[in-house]
Amino acid sequence: MKPKQNQHPLKYSIYSLIAVVAAMIFFFPIYWAFSTSLRNPLDTFTVSGFGIPFLNFEPTLTNWVDQLATEEARKAVYNSTVIAVFASILALALGIPAAYALARFRFKTISNKDLTIWFLSQRVLPPVATVVPFYLIMQFLNLLDTQLALILINATFVLPFVVVIVRQTFLDLPIELEEAAFMDGARNYGAFLRVALPLAAPAIAATGLIMFAFTWNEFLFAITLSSKEVITIPIHMAGAVDTRGVQFWFMAVRAMIAMIPPVLIALLAQRYIVQGLTLGAVKG
């Protein structure tokens, strides 16, 4: 269903106005973080109106400078980046072949459909159900407070997404191209690597980005398995809650640092978000 072109001008104005207001409501908190990050501690909770810099208060970059200068902040960005990149790569490395298998071969004992759904079902597992055993396992393996532990676990939790989304991408590719490759003497692996994979690359890249965002935002496992060394951005943020309480002027800076990458990803991967977040059930 496409929007009508011949709409009444009054209706057009009213609808547009409502849409603008709605978008503003959804944008406001992000704007508010930005505004708070520019305030002096004394102004944090006392600015009037909608906290517009220069109009309602005298903005300062002190919070940003202070925060970016801290070792912890840089360490948190570094850790979060490493963990999110490697968890995404690991999930893609495991998930893409499985997705290909589910799209291009027929399994007999358990049907392709049930296999796919089994992968999916991992996603609805409440993470808290595995938090305690993972804690004990990682303690046993001496992996508490390491990047590796968080990479392994995050990869596990985003793997189902990869399988399901990429499977759908492969299904949408014409199989004939791969068959042509067989004619040229390629084997299964060749057809996968040289034909299917390049064609699916844009979707795979978008999936990777979405997985990156998920891992970047993950908090429960990070706070459980890390204590001192492997501080990720969400833990760094919760760390502002030390014995001295939350310093919201710094918090706002950290919130901005935390939100900018995933929010950019949301814009970049727009086309794939619907499919990604509905596990391929709805196509965007």
Partner: protein
């Protein structure tokens, strides 16, 4: 579905992921079940000894007087005792007021937040399905909350809900200091974050309805409402079911927002199941009881999931 000729290669493709998922989910779940019927006590037996200090090449380090320097080595022996206590932990669940409250909090949260997101999502999707000023820009802005770090969102909304002069202070509402309002505030934050997702999915689904069908339907139905109730809504139903169940499964996991926004309070007014299980396991270190709690949550999710997959299987057909 057209497929390649079946070769053994298919297992090479599939198995790594399958084995991975099995190892990383089934094993912890079994371990967790085992934990839930045991009482774990860990003690360390420690002894200290002085050992000679060695340099990089393995020679003893001498002090100023020429005597070998020593350092302390700590010998540890960890002793864990596991006592089978049967279903004691599950019995505790049934009698624990904190558990009852957490189930209540989680249920209210899910039952209010999720339908609100769906309704708002549909309304916004219908709106954005019209011709609008700067439509694709506004649509892009609406996307932003979806991936905003939930923990950051929780802290952010603390400043927004600040009752002594915050941006919503003029409403005079005790957003975080009254138990009922606090739960409502948590719900509000979730609605803010997830309505855009519902909106986006419904918009995609609306745009998937063929134009011819719409034209034909317009001929028949007199009113806008009739058009919606008789044509659009039925066309959206499969999508609604999927979004509903996806959101249910996600909403039950509620953790980050109360953690940052309310700390689970006032009292236990916003303490969700996940939050309680987390605190019990990793703050009180009552591992067995926390495992029992999370199993209880798992069972609730399973019930919903069973519903979910029957529907999802159909949409995969």
């Amino acid at each position: 579905m057209k497929t390649h000729r079946n070769t053994k290669a298919r297992f090479v493709f599939l198995l790594p992921a399958a084995v991975w998922v099995l190892t990383f989910t089934i094993f912890p779940l079994v371990y967790s079940l085992y934990l839930s019927v045991h009482k774990v006590e860990t003690k360390m037996n420690v002894s200290r000894e002085k050992v000679p200090m060695l340099d990089a090449s393995g020679n003893p380090v001498l002090d100023a007087k020429g005597n070998p320097r020593t350092k302390i080595k700590i010998n540890r022996e960890k002793i864990s005792t596991w006592t089978n206590i049967g279903f004691t932990n599950f019995k505790r669940l049934a009698e624990d007021p904190q558990v009852h409250s957490a189930i209540k909090v989680t249920s209210i949260f899910v039952l209010v937040a999720v339908p609100s997101q769906l309704v708002l999502g549909i309304l916004l999707a219908l709106l954005f399905n019209q011709r609008l000023w700067a439509r694709s820009f506004l649509r892009a802005v609406m996307l932003l909350p979806i991936f905003a770090t939930p923990l950051a969102v929780g802290y952010l909304f603390f400043t927004i809900f600040y009752e002594e002069g915050g941006p919503l202070g003029f409403l005079g509402v005790p957003f975080l200091s009254h138990p009922d309002w606090a739960l409502f505030s948590v719900i509000l934050v979730d609605i803010w974050q997830w309505t855009p997702f519902c909106f986006l999915v419904f918009l995609a689904a609306l745009q998937g309805i063929p134009n011819e069908l719409m034209e034909a339907a317009k001929m028949e139905s007199k009113s806008k409402w009739g058009l919606f109730a008789n044509i659009i809504f039925p066309m959206l139903t499969p999508t609604i079911v999927i979004v509903l169940l996806l959101r249910l499964a996600e909403a039950i996991k509620l953790f980050d927002i109360p953690f940052a926004l309310t700390g689970g309070g006032p009292g236990v007014a916003t303490q969700s199941m996940s939050f309680l299980a987390f605190r019990t396991g990793l703050r009180y270190f009552d591992l067995g009881y926390a495992s029992a709690m999370s199993y209880c949550l798992l069972i609730i999710v399973m019930i919903i999931v069973t519903l979910f997959f029957r529907k999802l299987r159909q949409s995969y057909a």
